[in-house]
Structure formats: C-alpha cells, structure tokens
Symmetry: C2
Subunit: 429 residues, 2 copies
C-alpha cells in the first residue's frame, strides 16, 4: 500500500474519470411541459449533446410589444399636443389573429403579441392615445371611430420584428449547455418537440461487508444495517448520476466479482464501499486488487484507505473505472466529497462543481493530527462561528446528519485555538 497526499489522490481520481467526458451516449427527451411536469428528474441538470440550430425565426412574425394602436409612423410625424393627428380606427387585432393589412389613414387597435399588420411600422401604447382606452365592442370594427395622437412615434417603436430574438438557421443553444427554465422554454418556442441530451453517468454502487443487512430485516448480534447504500445513492444522484445500488453482504471475493460482472455492462463507473483497510479479510482488496485496482493510504482523516483503477469489463473496451471508499459511512461520504463529487458534477454540467468555501473562526479549540488533512463535521452558529458537531471518529453518522459544514484542518496544523479562522465547506444545499 502506497501513501499519498489527499490532493494527489484527488487528481488521480479526476484523471481516472476524465475519459467519461468523451463519447457520451445520447438520450432524447420530449420537450413538452406535461412531460417536464410529470418526469421532473429527467430534466434536471441535463446537458445538450449537440448544437441546436433554430428551425424558425423568433418571434415568428412581427408583433406588438404593447397594447395600443398599430400605425404608420410617417402619418403621425407632425402630431403635437396642440396639433393632434387623427386616424380612422381599423379592425382590432388580437393575439392569435392572422396577419392583417393596415389601410392608409387608419390605426388598428392591437394587443400585446398580436401580429403587426402589413403597412404598420410602429405601435402607440394605448395610454398615449386620445382617448386612452380601446373602443368598446371588443372585436367589432370601429369603422366610424376616430383616434387622435398628440406626439409622433418613432418608427419601429414598440414593434418586435420577426427574428429579432433568434433567426432561423442561427445557433439556438450550443452543445454543452445545461438545460434550465429559459433553455427548455426557448426550445419549446421554436416548436421543437425533443432535445438530445447527454446520458447521465451511471454508477454501480457496491456497499460491502459480511455484517451489513437491508433495513427492515432482523439483525443478529454483530450485524448492522446498510447505511452506505442510502448515503451514496443520494449523494451520487445529487451530483447528476443514476445509480444501481447492489450491496455485497459477504466477504467472499467471488460474490463481489459476480456483482461487478453483472453490473458492468450498464455502468460507467463502479464505486465500492468498505473492504479496503488493513484487515485480514478485505473483500474489495481481495477481489479487485488482482484486477488492477491500486490501493493506497491517503493522508486524510476520515477516509484514509482509498483505491482506484481501471478493470477489464464487458462493454468497456477502454476499461471500467473503479473507485473504492472505506466502509465507515462518514469516511465514505467524506471520501465522496473530497475525491469524486467535483469530477462527477463537472461531467454532469453543473456550473458549480465545488462546495462554497467560507473562512470562519472556530468557536472552540481543536486538535488535529498534523500529518493528515482532517475533515470535521460542524455547524455555523448565528455569530458565524464554526462549532464542531461530534468527534472526529468516522462512525458518527448522526453527527454528520446534524451538520451543515465540513471543517478542513490541513496537514501541518496540529492545533487551532478558538477564534482561529479555518476553511469551511457549506454542505447544506
């Protein structure tokens, strides 16, 4: 077992995962609001697989930006407060109406979004017209009505020209764009009904241990419930992955190899938990060491025993990446935070791949092993002080669940006093 600094291990994990960015599989999602509303998870943090070229102009026709009158600006060029210009009121144009023509000498009541009639080149908002409200009668022509204007509109004023947002044939959204409300909306606006996105990274998650049992089953003395599968499933999902959680409740290397073999064809990455420390029986070391996974002791606490490698597997001509975490739930989750989360979030297209880092004073003094990077669980109190939650031991998952921050006590720091500033990661979002 080699020994290494935690940032070296992080770089090694990033290098192992980097090829997953290449040749990503593509999935096609329907872009209908009903589908988005009904299958919300399918659309969160998805990344465009290819450029989308707009199939149409947006807006698709000239239209009005205001409720007002569509006019020919030149006909009102001389309008002034004491010399109003008068126009005959033409047929009202509503949103959804077909494209009309504006007869010379007329002004057409026009609603926001309604198509500008041919001949018109400006819209005067209703509040600037005299009278400043529309003729009653709604849709019927106001053939006898007259509207007056006391100022000249600028040509193009309150007109939205066809294609002024995006033109047919223009790049609508580039490959690599993350889909959010505005992106899904502009795709829908062009009438496209599907979008090609990158398939999520698929993780085969294998919690190991002769002692672990599924929650809800009966425990014999010495057995514990499997919490790692729940912890890391959720952590992986929150980083944009899909997960198959397939625990290995045995110390038998053959059983672990069976799970890897069966799960490999539909996985992009294998993460194991447990079975990597210095014990006499370490199922992950025993099973995966011979396949090329390398184990090392990283100078971090918790989370020292780590491993990684590429193993041969069906459907993986370039090998299947494997990352191994130690088995205590706190160690496993800290390992995920330190070594894997940023890389997975980068692959998923998150704009923020790192935790928010604060530098805040400690509420109390703390000791830390000077030869390791220690990560402690903490909360941030109302005064902005960092208050440790529970001790450093890696079995204190309840303390982790009560925490909102991770405190970093770097190599070389053996002691810090109350009030000393430390780096803190916010983990509460």
């Amino acid at each position: 077992m080699t020994s290494r600094l935690f940032d070296h291990h992080r770089v090694a994990v990033e290098a192992l995962l980097a090829p997953l960015a290449q040749d990503r599989a593509v999935e096609t999602l329907p872009v209908s609001a009903a589908r988005i509303a009904g299958a919300p998870d399918a659309y969160r943090h998805r990344v465009l697989a290819v450029d989308i070229v707009s199939p149409t102009d947006l807006p698709p026709f000239d239209n009005s930006q205001m409720d007002g009158y569509a006019v020919r600006a030149a006909e009102l060029a001389d309008a002034a407060p004491h010399a109003t210009a008068r126009l005959q009121i033409d047929t009202q144009i509503n949103a959804g109406d077909t494209i009309a023509e504006l007869a010379p000498g007329t002004a057409a009541p026009i609603m926001t979004g309604a198509p500008l009639p041919v001949g018109a080149d400006a819209v005067v908002p209703i509040e600037r017209a005299i009278p400043d409200r529309f003729p009653t009668g709604g849709e019927s022509p106001q053939a006898d009505g007259i509207v007056e204007f006391s100022a000249a509109p600028r040509p193009e004023e309150f007109v939205r020209r066809r294609g002024s947002d995006v033109g047919a044939g223009d790049l609508l959204l580039a490959a690599g764009t993350s889909l959010g409300p505005a992106q899904l909306g502009v795709i829908a606006a062009t009438g496209l009904t599907t979008v090609d996105v990158l398939r999520r990274i698929r993780v085969l998650l294998i919690a190991t241990g002769h002692e672990i049992r599924e929650p809800g089953t009966a425990l014999e003395p010495g057995q514990i419930y499997d919490s790692n599968s729940a912890v890391l499933s959720q952590a992986l999902i929150e980083s944009g992955c899909t997960v198959v959680a397939w625990p290995c409740r045995s110390d038998d290397a053959a059983e672990l190899l069976h799970i890897v073999e069966k799960g490999a064809p539909t996985a992009d990455l294998v993460i194991t938990v447990g079975g990597v420390s210095a014990g006499a029986r370490e199922v992950v070391r025993d099973a995966l060491g011979p396949l090329g996974v390398e184990f090392s002791h990283v100078a971090i606490q918790p989370g020292g025993p780590q491993g990684l490698g590429l193993v041969e597997a069906a459907e993986h001509p370039n090998g299947l990446p494997v990352v191994t975490f130690p088995g205590n739930p706190v160690s496993a989750l800290v390992s995920f935070e330190m070594f894997v989360r940023p890389a997975l979030r980068s692959l998923a297209g998150f704009a923020r791949t790192e935790r928010e880092v604060l530098r805040l004073p400690l509420a109390e003094s703390v000791d830390s092993p000077a030869d390791k990077h220690q990560v402690r669980r903490a909360s941030i109190d109302a005064d902005g002080l960092v208050r440790l939650v529970g001790g450093p031991s890696s079995h204190l998952l309840h303390s982790y669940a009560a925490s909102t921050a991770l405190v970093h006590l770097p190599v070389g720091l053996g002691h810090a006093d109350a009030g000393d500033p430390v780096d803190v990661w916010r983990i509460d979002d």
Copy 2:
C-alpha cells in the same frame, strides 16, 4: 389598477403563500437505497414532517474502530519497548460475527466494525503489534500464537461504544430537517424503512392566450408555440414544487374558469401566465378579477402587470392562492424570480432561498427607466465584468437562455457607466 413598488408586491406574494406552510400534508417514502436510486426525484429537497426518534442505539453494539487486537488494557499497563507484554492470540473476530468473549490473558484479532468481545476494553491497531500483521489462516484459531505489545493502550482506545453516535429514544432528526445523503443514511442505519415527509407544494400552471399552441403542432400565421408552460414548469420544479401544466389556449374566461375549477382540488397554488395587461381582452383579468384577484402595475421592467388573490375553490376552505404573471416569457420568468421563487424555496425547505448576489462592474454603459426597477439579462465575463445579453425587451427568451446572471438597475438609476458596480444575481446553478 393600482401601482406599487416591486418589494411591496413581493411582500404581498409572500404573505399570500405563507399559510401554505401550515397543516402541510404528509407523504410516506420508503427509505431503501433501491428506491432512492430508482425514484431520485422523490427524495430531493424533502423535509421531515415529524421528529424521528431513534428506535435503536447507534452503533448497535460495542465495536472496533481499527483493524487490530481486542485486549484488556489493564493487562498491558506495564508494556514498554524493552519490556513487552505477551498475550495469547484468541480467535479472530470479523465484522458480522456474533459477540464473543475475550479470555483473560488473550488478545483477539479484530477487524474494523467487528463486535468487541465481552471483557475487552481497548483495541491496539495492528501496526502497533508485534508482529504487525495478522496470523495467517484467517478464521482458524491461532491457539499456539503469541502477540507482543510494546506500549500500554489507554482504556477505551479505538473502541466505539454502543450508542455513542445516538441512543435509542433520542431525537434522531427533527421535524423540518431537509433530507440529504447523511440524513437518509442515518435513518437507514437505525433500520427504519420509511420516512414521513411534507408533500411538495402543488402548482396548477395555466399559460393563457388565444395565440399559443403546443410545440409540434402546425402554426397558423399569428400563432406562437407555448414556451411559458415549459419555462415555468421547470422553474417550479427546481424550486421544489410539483406541477400540473394546463394551458388555456383561448381568450374565453369560461375556459379559464373551467381549468381552475377542475385543477383546484389537487393544487395548493395557481399560477397564470398572460392575460393581465391593458388590452381589450385579458382572459385572466376577465375571469379572475370578479373572483377577487387584484391586479396592479408593479414598478418593475419586465414584469409590470401583476396580480394576486385568494379565490374560493373546492377543497380549499381558506381559499386558493392565485398569482398572475404577464405573458411574455421573459416577463414571466423574471416575475417568478423576483416574487415567487424565494417563498416557494422556503416552503420546500431549501437552505438557500435567494440567488447568490454579486456586486460587479458593468462592461458597458446602460440606460434604465428611473421610475422602475429594471432587470436585465447578462453574463459575467472572465474579467468579472457584467456584459448585457440582448436588450431589455421581454420577448428575448433566447437572450435569457444565453445568460448566466440577472442585473438589477434599481428605481432612481437612469444611467450607469461602464465600470459602475451593479447588483447581479447568479442564475446558472
């Protein structure tokens, strides 16, 4: 139509939605890793409906923190480098084994997480034993073997006592806690198989307009594709809501009222889009004004015409809250950001309800109506300068989709020069 400042409208919307925090319905979710992995959306941003009391001690039995030897510390009290203490090697204890007894004068090889044998009160890590590796042969007793120790362990050293993380009957997680990896994990660790969470806020989303059509259908001249349903479905989902998107492709008040009536029993909130401005036919104003929804003009651009109110509805003895947005997609999404998003995220239990606010210099000069709070779309360039994307017009959804930030130009500001600092919201996460 009344006129109001945007922060007044925001306060009014928050007051309208505040009662949704009371008497929230409860849903029960299974806490199995398979279910979490298979139904990820069900677990994201969920909030505990009730306190959870731990049904068990965690850890459930005394166990070893290290791979090493379980010993009686007193028997090694005099151990020193030149006066090693010798103990007979007892049967190896693996994780998952039942609880053994440690005979006096013996040391039992014990693996991390394995149950501490009765009689032992300390664990000596294997690397401090002589020899510093386990006897070969795995599980078989090493009845003839001897292990030596050159230092006295402290009592309790490397022992994890039963209940040291949480005790049976203690509060495991409090009502109101948001579920993340550690919280789901500690629930699983106790063996609980279900968790009671608050039902998500259910939104009936009604995009309106005679002109809107479903993407994929044929458009007549003057018609446009409905983008608002996609925009706001995704925005609502990202704020922790469930959505029924039911467009009203008509200016007929009766049709809108029909949708509200049919959708009300399964909605906590109605959001409409469009039909609220000064036009001659405004379906939302026409239909909902008589029911008590109040419309006002808010001093914001885009997003001026806003409305809100409580309407009578089946299954809603205290009334059904309705919030109305203007119909241009940019106006609707800015309205959502400014008035609704923080309140919904607070109801959903997000730790961060507000956008991250940066104060950054403008890359270029900008004019803004001094009597309105103007919101512009922008990106932040590599030098940290704010670069506007597209103009202020509310039809420029493509520009919005290309933006990563919203720029706030407050009331009173008519012009800002290049280099002037402005408040910017990051919207790219």
